[in-house]
């Protein structure tokens, strides 16, 4: 056994890095600073400099306004509700998938994770179709609300519901990953002591999972307060303002003259996010299982199967399948409000989107290239950063990690404006402005992608035997060589998982693209939003269906090759 004192000490103490490695880390720091921090700092400097000589004047003004306080209250309430909902649903699902022998797990998890792949505004759109008085499905079930009455989703509760379902996927992934790391011996020891499955779940598995559950909840909370798509589609008609829609409205209504006060509101969002992330760091730091044993065997369900299985699929049906079905129905309508019949069904929307609209075709190509680039670059940056964080415990790396989270916590709109302010003037040496090019969109994507790619990478490194890297050092390999020949192959599956996650989010992204796109550089999320805003809901639905089809196709391909991939790469591989 390695000397436990040394092992424990080695894990606690940061090792002093040789100068070459410090240089490497500094490069990573520079990347994070330029891409993510600088735009934010530039934007926040607007807040404090807008009233000369009175740096806090604007903050006081904005933070005491009634509309802000209402939006703040709504944001906290709705996000808390959504987080609670997401945590319960996501953890329950992770448990059901992780410790029971339920059949059809892969499919169930895939359906459960669909909200991750679908952009929030499309989800909101689909839900409004599903619950409106016009809904085909609800009318069939005689559950539709009376015509002319408000859509029940246009309310704080509607926001909680849709956001909760959307973010349950995040909680699920976090908890599931932690569940995978629970070694079999723990459970077997409990069974020998006479404990049954429910007892084991309550007394052993849940406590061990507590850090992951809290971590997932914190992530869900941060996502909720920064969510724009759902509050935009459900909150605005429902007269339920939230901080993100408040920012969007102020920008839209009053123009960049309010950049200062917009960033004052953003500071509030950042503060909330910081609280959320801080709590995550505090509460979620539990005793990590250092021992790596065999993976735990699932409990047989026996008679419970007859109850659990239909319940599960009923929930999946309502939460995921029905809204998508409604969206599909809408895409075949000639106009909103026309009932779907054999005679009225039309392919015009698809024809328009695929053939007649040059901007949509460009958007497919643009989004694909941007999302792929963001995924690859983020994974490549996550590799050394994760290494220094997990294996070398470098203090500098921890600082970079904290800074990298910043652009992710701030709403996309705010980041976009910061990026414009910074990158509109020509770059110093190259004398070329990135504004109006596709590169500026890529920069904003990269700023928000790094945390996504970093989490699975860190998890993989934490599980890696440090001796593998040390043996490489003994063999004489410097950092770059070890990174390329030893470390990357060892964590490649998690890197790939991170890259794919980034791809899926970036492919359908809206909030950042909305302000940064320019002629010829549309992205898919923007096109859907615009079509919807122009009143062409049926066209938007058709495009949304196509986007979902592409993503689902990619996901199915991943599933097909998952047999050759290590466990955990494909998130829905049970």
């Amino acid at each position: 056994m390695t000397d436990p004192a040394t092992a424990a000490a080695g894990r606690r103490r940061p090792l002093l890095l040789p100068r070459s490695e410090q240089l490497f880390l500094c490069l990573v720091l520079a990347y994070v600073a330029v891409i993510g921090l600088w735009p934010l700092l530039r934007l926040f400097s607007e807040t404090f400099t807008s009233v000369p000589g009175q740096p806090l004047a604007l903050l006081q003004d904005v933070w005491s306004s009634r509309s802000l306080q209402r939006a703040l209250g709504n944001t906290i309430v709705a996000s808390a509700g959504a987080t609670l909902f997401a945590t319960v649903i996501g953890s329950a699902m992770a448990l059901v998938i992780g410790i029971t022998d339920l059949p059809g797990k892969s499919l169930a998890v895939f359906v459960f994770l669909l909200p991750l792949l679908i952009p929030p505004q499309i989800t909101a759109m689909a839900w409004t179709e599903f619950t409106g008085s016009n809904s085909l499905i609800l009318n069939l079930l005689h559950l539709a609300p009376a015509p002319g009455s408000a859509n029940p989703l246009y309310s704080g509760y509607g926001i909680m519901l849709v956001m909760g379902i959307e973010h349950a996927a995040i909680v699920f992934l976090t908890v599931r990953a932690s569940l995978r790391a629970v070694p079999r011996d723990l459970i077997e020891a409990a069974r020998l002591a006479g404990a049954g499955p429910k007892h084991i779940t309550r007394k052993i598995i849940l406590p061990v999972l507590r850090p992951a559950i809290l971590s997932g909840a914190a992530l869900a909370f941060v996502s909720a307060i920064g969510n724009f798509g759902v509050p935009a589609l459900l909150g605005i008609p429902g007269r339920y303002p939230m901080l993100t829609t408040l920012i969007y409205q102020q920008l839209n209504g009053f123009g960049p003259t309010v950049l200062g006060s917009v960033s004052a509101v953003s500071l509030l969002l950042v503060a909330l996010a910081a609280i959320g992330l801080g709590m995550k760091a505090l509460l979620a730091a539990g005793p990590a299982t250092i021992e790596r044993g065999a993976e735990l065997q699932p409990f047989p369900l026996g008679g419970w199967l007859l109850i659990l299985l239909p319940l599960l699929w009923l929930w999946l049906g309502i939460s995921a399948a029905m809204p998508l079905l409604s969206l599909l129905v809408t895409s075949f309508l000639p106009a909103v409000g026309v009932p779907l019949t054999a005679a009225s069904a039309t392919l015009d929307n698809y024809r328009f989107v695929l053939l007649n609209d040059a901007s949509t075709q460009r958007a497919f190509v643009n989004s694909f290239a941007l999302a792929a680039a963001a995924g690859v670059v983020s994974a490549l940056i996550a590799l050394p950063l994760g290494y220094f964080l997990a294996l070398r415990r470098s203090r500098l790396a921890r600082l970079i990690d904290l800074l990298a989270d910043a652009p992710y916590a701030v709403p996309g709109i705010v980041l976009a404006i910061g990026v414009i302010l910074v990158f509109l003037p020509p770059l110093p040496v190259l004398h070329v402005s990135l504004y109006g090019t596709i590169w500026i969109i890529l920069i904003a994507y990269l700023a928000r992608s790094l945390p996504l790619a970093l989490r699975p990478t860190i998890a993989a490194f934490e599980q890696l035997d440090r001796a593998l890297d040390e043996a490489g050092q003994i063999a004489g390999a410097g950092l770059l060589k070890r990174m390329w020949r030893i470390l990357m192959p060892s964590v490649a599956p998690s890197l790939a998982a991170g890259a794919i996650l980034v791809f899926m989010i970036a492919f359908t992204e809206l909030t950042v693209s909305a302000l940064l796109w320019s002629s010829g550089h549309e992205t898919l999320g923007v096109v859907v939003f615009m079509l919807h805003g122009e009143g062409n809901t049926t066209g938007a639905a058709a495009l949304a269906v196509l986007m979902i089809t592409v993503i689902t196709g990619l996901a199915l391909v991943m599933s097909a090759v998952s047999r050759w991939l290590p466990k955990g790469v494909v998130p829905w591989q049970a």
Binding site: M1, T2, D3, P4, A5, T6, A9, R12, R13, L15, L16, P18, D465, A467, L468, E470, A471, G472, Q473, I474, A475, G476, A477, G478, K481, R485, I486, P489, S490
Partner: protein, 359 residues
């Protein structure tokens, strides 16, 4: 030429002082064992030699080169040493041949020569047939040997081994111990071998560095450690000695002193010091007397038999002497007494522990 020189090494982790005042000089080709209980610092010392930690003070020279201390710090990849890790640390995505040849490819050795060296290394450990396998397909013992071959391919002057046999079963352990001795002699590389198993250290090493609490207890050949332990810790750790308080009376010659132990007079090895001292005794240094023949008072001590343990060929009798607060004693016997009997024992030999060094 001295192969490894560690001078006054010290290392702490936060409040915990892991090593202090460590001095070691290993000659070229020597087999040194670092021995001690968990937490004694032996692994920390090994990691300092490897370069995974930096010493707080002191210096390390490998060959003639200063690698740590006095402002210098050479990272592990530049020290040209080999290391066998406890977990073997074989790279799972590479074949056995790729694992063994990695260090050579890092140094830019051309393919043909590299393959030759890899083949030689594999042959040295008897795994030539497994070159194309992956670590996951090998047994524990085979992985152990691949880890060794990986070191040997580099032909380093110093090889560090971190409890390499801890995860193997007893029979395999013995085989591998022979292998290590053989390779040490054949290759002429200095071996620094960390273990907590004293029998292993005694059978393998030329000299053993016994450590406890981050400090050196004794650095000596196994025989010396066994017969003349420098401290109480060494005495108890190696060979399971019993340490008893003794009253020294007078020197008998250069090597022996008369002493009073357990109310009997006996002759002990060692040098005269203060009259109150400690001595270490092994089970075979004590003799069990069962006969009823009369004996002179002051030459034997009475005791009660508590237990008799069979050791495969001979017995250990556990007795409690009748003097107050005497510790339990273990006596080697061929014909065991009955449990509960009162017996007498005579002290035939013992070693007077040198006085405790002031800290």
């Amino acid at each position: 030429m001295a192969s490894v020189i560690a001078t006054d090494l010290g290392k702490s982790f936060g409040q915990h002082q892991a090593l202090s005042h460590i001095n070691l000089v290993a000659g070229s080709g020597e087999f040194i064992a670092l021995l001690g209980p968990s937490g004694c610092g032996k692994t920390t010392l090994l990691r300092l030699l490897a370069g995974f930690e930096r010493p707080d003070h002191g210096s390390i020279e490998l060959g003639e080169i200063l690698v740590a201390g006095r402002g210098i710090y050479l990272p592990p990849e530049k020290r040209n040493i080999g290391m066998v890790f406890q977990s073997y640390a074989l790279w799972p995505h590479m074949t056995v041949a790729e694992n063994v040849g990695f260090a050579l490819s890092v140094r830019g050795m051309p393919g043909a020569e590299r393959r030759k060296r890899v083949a030689e290394a594999l042959e040295l450990v008897g795994l030539s047939a497994y070159a194309a396998r992956r670590p996951a397909q090998l047994s524990g013992g085979q992985r152990q040997r691949v880890a060794l071959a990986r070191c040997l391919a580099m032909r380093p002057p110093v090889i560090l081994l971190d409890e390499p046999l801890a995860n193997l079963d007893a029979h395999l352990r013995e085989t591998m111990q022979h292998e290590f001795r053989r390779l040490n002699r054949e290759l002429g590389s200095t071996f620094i071998y960390v273990t907590h198993d004293h029998a292993e250290a005694m059978s393998l090493a030329d000299r053993v560095l016994v450590m406890s609490g981050g400090e050196v207890q004794q650095l000596a050949a196994p025989v010396t450690l066994y017969r003349e332990p420098a401290t109480r810790m060494v005495a108890e750790f190696i060979g399971g000695s019993m340490v008893l308080p003794v009253r020294l009376r007078r020197p008998l010659d250069e090597l022996h002193v008369e002493a009073e132990v357990e109310r009997q007079l006996c002759r002990l090895r060692g040098t005269m010091q203060e009259s109150e001292a400690f001595a270490s005794f092994r089970p075979k240094d004590l003799e069990l007397l069962t006969g009823t023949a009369p004996v002179e008072p002051g030459t034997v001590s009475p005791a009660r038999v508590l237990d008799v343990i069979y050791r495969g060929g001979s017995y250990i009798t556990l007795v409690r002497p009748e003097s107050a607060d005497a510790p339990l004693l273990r006596i080697a016997t061929d014909s065991p007494p009955r449990i509960g009997d009162t017996i007498a024992f005579r002290i035939r030999d013992g070693w007077i522990l040198p006085p405790e060094r002031p800290l």
